[in-house]
Amino acid sequence: MSLERRAAMATLIEGRGEDLLVVPGLGSTAWDLAAAGDNDRNFYLWGAMGGAAMIGLGLALAQPKRRVAVITGDGEMLMGLGALATIGIQRPDNLAVIVFDNGVYGETGMQPSATQSGADLLKVAGACGIATCLDVRDQAGLADLAGRLKSLRGTLFARVSIEANEPPRVLPERDGVALKQRFRAALGLKP
């Protein structure tokens, strides 16, 4: 059973609160986040493939009193798989890495990714020392994840099984300097 990606994103960030900072991966998860409603505390990626989880780690270490959610795709996570080992050492309490896994590269024509052939991101994350790894396959699992995201207590990894569909693109701001400055300003930092 798989979840619909736009509805899943909306559920995860509903009532997000001012202390939730969200870093989506490039491509579909960035469009999903934009579709769920723009927010200064979203740092949309239009590139940097393989870097989303590490941006989340640097941010989580710098902002221990805020919650950080990296919400990315299976292809983006696979490109930076080593980041799970790096995060497994640091394990900040306020970081969640959530992978929308549909087993395909959706932006480029639905070519199969390694997760379709057996690469198990949950096992990788667990083997890297991330204690809480959730396999989200239905509404109940999604509701549980959304609840845990409200008050993170320890590094969390979740694989969310989503349909291999491609909803209409919702494009967020793409000026990187503007995205950075508005994000920092929202945190009370000098832009």
């Binding site: 740092f43 710098a62 080593g82 790096t86 995205l179 950075k180 930092l189």
Partner: protein, 174 residues
């Protein structure tokens, strides 16, 4: 060896402290061993050992988004691993200091180090990094202070390049 000769990693650490560096990402290199030890021993610095250098480019971007200053330590071979991720740094104008120990340029025993070592500077220049190369121990502290000013004052990429001659020969036989 005089204190000045041996102490350049400590001077580098001192400049990091004065600049308020809070996160240090690194892929270990023998030339960085002393500096890494100092950072690991400092409770005010989060040391983050990376599986590949490009992770550190992303880490530093995240740190800056959250209001902290990070630096990235690597050997020359790691520069090549960073190239695409530096698009993040350039597009968003994130500050980034890379501290690079050189291989493949002086008394190098291992020819596999030469292809990457020989293109470190031109590649970094193409990525719009300001280069600060130290050849002698007493140059390191001053160059580091200027590099940090370039990075965090102007929100730019800078690379402190520590010449292989400065670090010394890797001993291959014991």
């Amino acid at each position: 060896m005089t204190e000045t000769m041996a102490g350049w990693p400590d001077r580098l650490y001192d400049t990091f402290k004065r600049a308020g560096i809070r996160q240090v990402g690194y892929v270990p290199d023998a030339g960085h061993a002393r500096l890494i030890d100092r950072c690991r021993a400092d409770p005010e610095i989060r040391d983050v050992v990376l599986t590949t250098e490009e992770e550190g480019v992303a880490l530093a971007a995240g740190a800056w988004l959250g209001g902290e200053r990070a630096v990235l330590l690597m050997q020359s071979s790691g520069v090549g691993n960073c190239i695409n991720m530096l698009s993040l740094t350039r597009t968003c104008r994130f500050p980034l200091l890379m501290v690079i120990t050189m291989r493949g340029e002086w008394e190098e025993f291992n020819p596999w180090q030469e292809p990457m070592g020989s293109i470190v500077e031109p590649v970094l220049k193409l990525c719009e990094a300001e280069i600060f190369r130290a050849r002698k121990p007493d140059e390191v502290e001053g160059l580091a202070a200027r590099a940090l000013q370039t990075v965090f004052g102007d929100e730019r990429i800078a690379a402190i390049i520590l010449s292989q001659e400065l670090i010394g020969k890797k001993v291959w036989t014991k």
